[in-house]
Structure formats: C-alpha cells, structure tokens
C-alpha cells in the first residue's frame, strides 16, 4: 500500500505554482507565495525548475517602493504548442494552444450520425491537425503533446474506450490509431474529466478543495474533486452521476439501466419530458440536441406553457440529482457547467435555487454554494489542453498530481487485484476481543 511521499508534496506544490501563473498570467514569486501559502524558498525553487525547462519565462521587472526590482513570470509561449481534440458524437474538433494555454486556431469536422470506428475518427483528427499545422509551419516539430477527449468510459491507463454505448464501442483500443494520426505523445480522457480538470485549474478549484463539477449536455456527469484532486476511481470511471438512479424502473437508458439521471436531465431527457407534457409539440421533430434546447428556450421565453413546464420539471429533476451529490459528498461547492447551461442556465439555476434546500439535509445545504457557469464546449478543449500540458510536464520530470491517473491502480499491488466482482459471502467480522 502506497503512502504520500515528499515527492508527492513537491508535485502538488508545483501544480499550485503553475495554476497561479496560468490563472493570473503574470506574477511575481511573492504573489505566488501569497496565493498558494508556499514558502518563498519553495516558490523560488519550483519557478526556477519551470524556467529551466522553458515552461515559464521571465516577463519583466517591476519596482516596488524603494526596494529592488522584482522579476515577473509568465508561461513561455515559444516553448511549443499543444493539441486539444474533442471527439463528440456529432463532430471532431481540434484546437491548437500555445503553452500559455492561449487558443491559436481551430479545425472542426461534422460526423455523420451513427456508429464510428476509431480509424475513421483518427482520420478526421489527422485531417484537422494537418490543416492547423499547415497554417503554422513554424510549429512543426514543436507540438509537445495532444489531449484527446472521446465519448464514453475512457481508460487512459489501458488506452481503451471501455464503453461508448451510442457508437457500440466495448473495450476498443485507441492508442495505435490516435498516435498514428497525431505523431506526438497522446493522452486520452473523456469530456467529463476534461471539463473537471479545467474547472480545477481555472474555476472553482482556485477557491475550493472539495467540490463537484456537474456537466449538463447530451450526456451528464459530475467531476468530483476531493482534497484538491480529481477523483478518477479505479478505472477512470468515477463521476458517472448521469448513470445513477433518479427513478428506479423509470425511463430506459442506453446504458442498460432504467431511471438514470441522464434520461431526465440530459438533452434527450428534456425532450422526453416535453413529449410527456405535449406529445404533439412541434419541437419534438427537432433532432439536433442544441437546436432543440435553443428553440425550447425561445418557446419558453414566449410563454409556451409546455416548454415552461418542461423546463420546470427539468429543474426539479436537476435539484434532486444535485441534492443526491450534496447529501452523499457534503462538498463545499457545486459548479454547473456544460453546453445546456449556455441556453438554459438562468432558468435552471432559478429553479435549483428555489428547490435545493428541500433536497438537501440541513447540514450540507447550510453552507453550500452553487454556481452555474456558461462554458459551452470550450471547457472540454481547454481541459484537454491542460491534460496534454500535464502529460508533457510529467515527461520532462515536472509532474503535478491534479488529475493523476488511476491512484487506486497505482497503489494496489498485484496481490490484491480482483478479477471478478462476485466475492462469496464473507463470515469475517470486525475483530471482537
């Protein structure tokens, strides 16, 4: 069984330094020290390492009153570029970032509905990447890494997509095709972990160490941050809040269960709610999810009673589902993200605000903060750029633990590996002496 080491502490401190630099753009060592609580000596050492590796650079000098001038630091965009790939069920999008996480350019291609092979997906990624780098030949050879978000349950340690029901993917190996398409080190993950990583670096993670980052979109999930670190679980599948029960034996879910949260508050779930209220409603013919939600909100604003009722019920479902997270985890904070918040954030937030106290036990709800944030898809690619950056830093010996892969797997020796869930009824009991 592993325990924390002084190296772990150093990695966590490095993450705090980097996050401060990225969030504030230009900082002095003293500002980093003040913001992180790290000692000036530690900050000097960590900044020195990052400057030596070319990740940070001295940006200038500022003079304090009467004192010596003080160096300011920022991320060093000339160090190289990062690719962030967002593979969704309806598109493939590749963004090019510099190492300061400034977005330089973007390419996107729509996918036909229906099943995709990893080879087709990789071909699209290659096409987008070639187009991006064709426009910036100076970056050839300077791409430091790529982060690729894929739908479903992605296991970055094994390099496979465990389960992506909408494409019929089960245990699909990803790395060979992706590394052929993008000839730089590739880190894979799913959109939920990407969004939560972005929120940890740039959002609520700057103020809270225990929070939940809820993602509302076609799929829904909840990134769980405990003690400043993203919970990945044993196989990178933690956070599948969309596949927890809201109504046992309720609506059928593509995952095979019924009554999952996603079937009520995901985009398709909201459509089902509208169809229950008004089976003949004209918006039910709109198949594209964003178009549907956008037009639903327009209808709601123009006093379409069915649209209003659908939104209200969605808010009730969302309140209960957030209440479950709060009662189970007692977090400091909940961030609600995802593209649905762009369209329906205000209305859903109003309803959650009305309902949440009734859905939570008195203790947790008394000090909880909830924020709805319009991130609209940018969050996934930013998060994947951060993960690509984390992967690069790890390779050059400067790791940060903020979204470390598979701590459970790493800490469990082969002697404790389990090969099946079904363990016989144990007679063992707690020791009684």
């Amino acid at each position: 069984m592993a325990t924390k080491t002084s190296k772990d502490i150093r990695n966590e401190s490095r993450f705090m330094v980097l996050r401060t630099v990225y969030a504030r753009h230009t900082v002095t060592r003293a500002q980093i020290s003040a913001e992180t609580g790290l000692s000036p000596a530690t900050v000097t050492t960590l900044v020195g390492e990052l400057v030596e590796e070319g990740v940070l650079r001295e940006a200038g000098q500022i003079s304090s009153q009467g004192g010596r001038p003080t160096a300011t630091f920022q991320a060093n965009p000339s160090r190289g570029a990062l690719l962030a790939v967002d593979v969704a069920e309806t598109y493939v999008r590749v963004d090019l970032f510099d190492i300061s996480l400034a977005r330089l350019d973007q390419e996107r291609v729509d996918l036909d509905p229906g099943a995709q092979s990893i080879e087709t997906v990789a071909e699209h990624i290659r096409g987008c990447t070639d187009a991006l780098l064709g426009r910036r030949p100076e970056l050839a050879g300077h791409v430091l890494g790529a982060g690729v978000s894929l739908p479903g349950q992605v296991d970055p340690v094994r390099g496979i997509d465990v389960f992506a029901p909408n494409w019929g993917w089960h245990e699909v190996p990803l790395m060979e095709a992706l590394e052929r398409a993008v000839p730089v080190p590739v880190r894979i993950d799913n959109p939920l972990m990407a969004l939560a990583t972005g929120e940890l670096w740039f959002g609520a993670g700057r103020r809270f160490r225990q929070f939940v980052a809820v993602n509302l979109g076609t799929g829904v999930g909840a990134g769980i941050i405990i003690d400043g670190q993203l919970l990945r679980g044993r196989g990178n599948s933690a956070g599948e809040w969309g596949h927890t029960t809201l109504i046992w034996n309720g609506r059928a879910c593509p995952c095979g269960r019924s009554g999952c949260v996603e079937t009520y508050i995901g985009a398709e779930g909201i459509r089902t709610t509208l169809s229950e209220i008004a089976p003949e409603h004209e918006l039910l013919t709109v198949t594209h999810h964003r178009d549907f939600i956008e037009r639903l909100m327009r209808a709601e604003a123009t006093c379409d009673a069915a649209a209003q009722e659908a939104l209200l019920r969605t808010g009730d479902y969302l309140s209960a589902a957030i209440g479950n997270l709060v009662n189970l985890l007692d977090p400091e904070h909940v961030s609600v993200l995802g593209w649905i918040t762009r369209y329906a954030g205000t209305e859903l937030h109003d309803r959650v605000r009305e309902r949440i106290a009734q859905e939570c036990l008195p203790g947790p709800s008394s000090t909880l903060s909830i924020e709805f944030t319009d991130a609209d898809g940018e969050g996934v690619s930013l998060g994947m750029a951060v993960l690509a950056l984390e992967g690069f830093l790890e390779r050059v010996g400067l790791p940060s633990p903020s979204s470390a892969l598979s701590p459970a797997a790493a800490s469990t020796g082969p002697g404790t590996a389990r090969t099946g869930w079904a363990v016989p009824h144990a007679d063992a009991s707690l020791p009684r002496r």
Copy 2:
C-alpha cells in the same frame, strides 16, 4: 489553500504503523516495514515514539535463523482505557476498551421510544460509565478518552447534533452535557463514521485505498474512503447515501425528501415493502426493528411467499443503490455492514450478486469486489474506541489522519468562507484567450 506537508506524511505513516500493530497484535519492525512499505528507519522512529508515549510496548524477542534476536511490539494495555459510547434511538450502550482495543466490559440501558434530551442521554451514559468503572477501580484516573456515537448528522468540529429527525433535534449542543457525564476528553461522531473507521482500521482498509463501507440498519449510509482516508465533507455529513433518491417522488422520508434510499432498504423501508405486498401480514404488527427483521427471515426460510418477495425486492433496491455508488465513485471494493446483514446478509448478498452487473456500467463492475460482513453493532463501539484512541494520540502529539475531522474547513481560509448556498447566477466562464 493548504497543501500536504511532511508532517501530514508522517501522520499517515504513523497511522499505517499503528494499524499494522493493532491488526496483527504482535509484530516486529521488519514485519511493519514489509506490510506498510515504509523504510526500516521510518518504522524504527515511529515505533520508538509510540513506545516512549507508552502506547506500544516491547512484547518479547524472537530469534531469526542465526541472526540477532528481534524485538516484537504490541499495544500496551496498561497505558489506560478508552470508553466507547453508542447512543442509538432505542438504547445507550457504553463499552470499556483497553488501549489494545480489547473489550473489557459493557453496560447498556434501553431508551423509551420517542424524543430524548441530550441531558437524559448524558445521564444514562454517566450511569453506565459509573457502573463500569465501579467494577474496575484500578482504572479510575486512567481513562484516556471517550468516543460517543449519536444518531443523525453530528458535527464534531462544532460539537453539535445538526439534525436527528427521529428525536426532533436541530443544532443541539452536545459537548457540555457529555463532558459532565464523562469527565475525560470526548470525541463525538455518528454511527456511520464509526463503522467506516472500524472498517478502515480492521476491515477492507487493510486491502483497499478506495472503497465504500455501506451500513444497513434502521438508518442506512455509506462511508466513503478515498486514498485511504474517510471522506467527511465540509460538515462531517458526507456518506448520507440513505438520503439520496432511489425513486423520485417515492416514499416519504423523515428527512423531508421523498423516495430516499433509506425508505426502501432501511428496516422501516423493508416493513413498508412487506406491507405493499401483503397489507395484512402478521409481521407488520412487530414494531421492534430487529425483531421484525429476525422474524421476517424466519418466515422467508419457511417459504412465506410475501416474506420472500419482500426480501427479493429489498435486494433489487439494494443492488440499484449500490450500483449508484459504484457508478459515481468507481471504487475498488464495497463492504456491506450493519446489523441487518446479521439476519439477512446471505439472502441480500445472493440477490446483489445476481443483479449488480446490470446496475453498474461495464468498467466499474468488471473489477469490483463486494463483501457482506456480519458486524452487528459491535462495529460502532469498536469504531468509537478507535476514534477515542485517535483523539488521545492527537493530544499527545502523535496524530494520524485516517479519519481527520473537517479537512475542508481546515484548508479553507476565512476569505473563501461561504455563508449561504444561494450564489447569484455567475456570468464567469472558463478563460478563453
């Protein structure tokens, strides 16, 4: 924002040493090192500190082949005693433990049904304690601490019971009455945290760093262990799985919500299920929860169809509710504890084994282990003895972080404190540059 320090690491290492000693009774330094992965030098230092404080003692010497004799160590029962108090809705029970966590004696008094004041409860605790110490006058002055488990949402940092619906308690201050009743340092908690602490020290915690300890009883809950540490949440309320939704708008729950997991798989929930199947069933007149479950199991064994159906449905509810935990947290393991498992563990386990794969996403379920353990109430008092021991060790400067109180509160500066849950809709978005 706080980060881990080398002191934290030392505390975690100390916990691992102590747990090894307690679990194995008598150990050499080399065995501790082998079991924990700590260096021999670290083990020597930590064992030395614990011997100096009298918590451990040298037990003897064993000779290895041809080598020098090696010292063995064990907990030192002459160092003093610990009190573990289990206040339930129907009884108060006080157990006396020595510092090796051997149970020396026990006193118990039944409570009348209905509301109780903390003063009455404290009076019972005092009576039991006086009786226990009256039988062992040699321990007078040598009680090192007391752990008191109380029902509901208990906040050990503020020293209050936030919410105990069955007694109508809201924000009830506890410490003054308890410290008058037991004139030693008191650490309060709830039964769920106590059970999970016992499981962390003596059960699954020895094999897993990410697991869930489910408690099935009159109330139900789920202690969440992440990275070898019990998750307490912001106000010690994490783990209220019993108050997450199984059926939205379902059975009314004393907590004020409806359709909570507890209303389906708690003792009262099982009775409701039986009443839905057979409204005139004779067992419905049995009001005492344990009697009811015990007789239900006897009826089930004698082919009472309604009892069998009630058990089956309870197993289905339990499977779905465990599936929610697995999908959300992707743990390595689930331990199912609590007094209901003593009576119905085999039957419920059989049904969960049949159903769980359908209730979990493919990734998490493929490597999950589930064990049902018959702890039957002993777990709560053992866990409170451990918490009393942890409190004592903290006071003498030898803390362990295994069930640290309120890490969130400790790590959040006053600048980030929140005073209300309702934060206005934020326009802030992830940075786009």
